[in-house]
């Protein structure tokens, strides 16, 4: 499916989503509409986005943005889904039951950005050692006076 076709299809699926052009279509959605939308993307027979190849988060200081890069192994089209999260209390539904790879990636995002994934089966620190709960190294406001190397 080309980007144009994808865009028409996505407008049908989720009218309130804001679509952005680019190399890949980007769909902006809200935490509330997020999970049903992702289910549709995965299961709609003309989309079949079964391959989540990148899951990450960006800290824009005012808000956090979750970024999901999706691809379809049957149709070979790609798209990006973005969810804006509140910086003070970032919460979003997990997608680990849709794409198993999200389980690991979400754990990584959880500890590096402090995003709370609701209904995640096993949300624990993956990389950081004991005592790092609540400190999120990849946030822009993170300061670590001990381990930071200043050149």
């Amino acid at each position: 499916m080309t980007n144009e076709e994808l865009k028409i299809k996505l407008t049908e699926l989720l009218p309130e989503a804001i679509l952005e052009d680019g190399e890949w279509i980007t769909a902006n959605t809200t935490p509330a509409a997020f999970l049903p939308f992702m289910h549709q993307l995965r299961n709609d027979p003309s989309l079949l986005m079964d391959y989540l190849f990148c899951l990450t988060c960006i800290d824009f200081k005012t808000h956090l943005t979750m970024v999901y890069h999706l691809s379809s192994t049957s149709f070979r089209h790609n798209m990006v889904v973005k969810v804006k999260l509140d910086a003070a209390k970032p919460e979003v539904e997990t997608v680990s039951h849709i794409w198993r790879t999200a389980e690991f990636h979400e754990r990584e995002v959880y500890e590096l950005f402090g995003v709370n994934f609701l209904h995640h089966p096993d949300l624990r620190l993956l990389i950081l050692p004991d005592g790092w709960e609540g400190k999120n190294p990849l946030r822009k406001d993170f300061e670590d006076p001990i381990n930071m190397i200043k050149l």
Partner: protein, 377 residues
């Protein structure tokens, strides 16, 4: 990382007669500082839980304070066995933002280096894989070929492992005058020795019995777990970025995407062995056809990416590497994310290892071809 509270938790969830055993962070089979907590019943694995972070350097955070020229060298330290390909992905991402056209000569050089790196990486994997299964000799034999590639790299790029050869706009130096001859010598050596791989390992009945029907990863699981590279292709999932989303000159080259449908460890093994031959094929096509011209496009001294997001995907020796740069218009990336192939490939380990023996776990880790700095970043 593994926390003390989790020790108690693991022991509590273990059933009657179960044994919780730590493989790593210092263990010969994990090829680095991977830590696996395995719940065993006798020799049978009930659960595998990876714990990461022992070599986490937070490269993503480091890159946020480095300029677009500087951050590329750090990425050699991620997947150090395909350093060129990592650098290539980063350089390509910056070029995408700058909209720089890379000269044809630089493109060919980049592809040549990528494929040589892929061969070298698979050579090392082959030796290490055999060593995981208890055969030591192949390890040294693999190093003979790998060493000659490293010598070629040393001559042209100035280093053997962390070359930092790809720069935005092209490559750092032109090819060394000896390059073509030495690559041809290597191809000869490789062709003379390739049958030994079959004699020593592939055809060996013990090896085949250790690999076949072990670590079965079905195609839909491979997709769901986000596997890429040889791990996915061993399950018959077409995932070669070079074919699907061609970059540089890959769409002009003749090579096959290697697919095996066995879904087991042996299929993954065969994918890598056959992939080496495809890389040899690419190198053979290019080595006599390197176009003349610039090896580097003209770029400004200080690079500034426009505001926006840039994502590039390349095929490393281990799978799909994605570089995702978010730029706010400055000289440094606002946020950079490396989608490393090893991270997703590792997540599948628990799924495929359950129910098999502890010796098979080692073989499976071998076929997933884990490089720990790539997973931890």
């Amino acid at each position: 990382m593994y926390r003390e509270t989790e020790v108690i938790q693991d022991l509590a969830t273990a059933g009657e007669g179960d044994m919780v055993i730590n493989v790593g962070p210092q263990h010969p089979a994990t090829h680095g500082v991977l830590h696996l907590v395995i719940t065993l019943n006798g020799e049978t694995i009930k659960k595998v839980e990876p714990h990461l972070g022992y070599i986490h350097r937070s490269i993503e955070k480091m890159c946020e304070s480095l300029s677009y020229r500087q951050f590329i060298y750090v990425t050699s330290r991620m997947d150090y066995l395909s350093a060129h390909i990592n650098n290539h992905a980063c350089a390509m991402c910056v070029e995408k933002g700058l909209q720089v056209e890379v000269p044809p000569r630089a493109q060919v050089i980049r592809v040549l280096m990528d494929e040589l790196t892929r061969i070298a990486s698979h050579e090392l994997w082959w030796g290490a894989m055999a060593m995981d299964l208890g055969a030591f000799t192949p390890f040294f034999h693999a190093f003979r070929e790998r060493e000659s590639i490293n010598d070629i790299m040393e001559e042209t790029c100035g280093a053997r492992l962390t070359m930092n050869y790809m720069v935005p706009g092209g490559v750092m130096h032109d090819l060394h005058p000896n390059f073509q001859q030495r690559v041809k010598d290597f191809l000869q050596l490789y062709k003379r020795k390739i049958h030994e791989y079959d004699e020593l390992v592939t055809g060996n009945i013990i090896f085949q019995n250790r690999m076949k029907n072990i670590g079965v990863l079905k195609a839909e699981d491979a997709i769901s777990y986000g596997c890429s590279g040889p791990t996915a292709r061993g399950s018959g999932v077409s995932s070669d970025i070079r074919k699907l989303y061609p970059y540089e000159i890959y769409n002009k080259l003749e090579f096959d995407e290697v697919l095996e449908t066995g879904c087991d460890s042996f299929a993954r093994y065969m994918v890598r062995i056959r992939e080496m031959q495809q890389s040899i094929r690419i190198v053979e096509q290019l080595i006599d056809n390197i176009p003349e011209g610039d090896f580097q496009a003209k770029t400004k001294a200080v690079l500034k990416l426009p505001k926006g997001e840039f994502y590039t995907r390349v095929e490393t020796a281990r799978g799909e590497l994605g570089v995702y740069i978010v730029s706010e218009g400055g000289t440094t990336p606002y946020r950079i994310k490396f989608r490393s192939p090893g991270f997703s490939n590792l997540s599948v380990l628990d799924h495929i290892a359950r129910g098999s023996k502890i010796g098979d776990l080692v073989a499976m880790m071998g076929t997933l071809d884990l490089v720990i700095p790539d997973i931890d970043r």
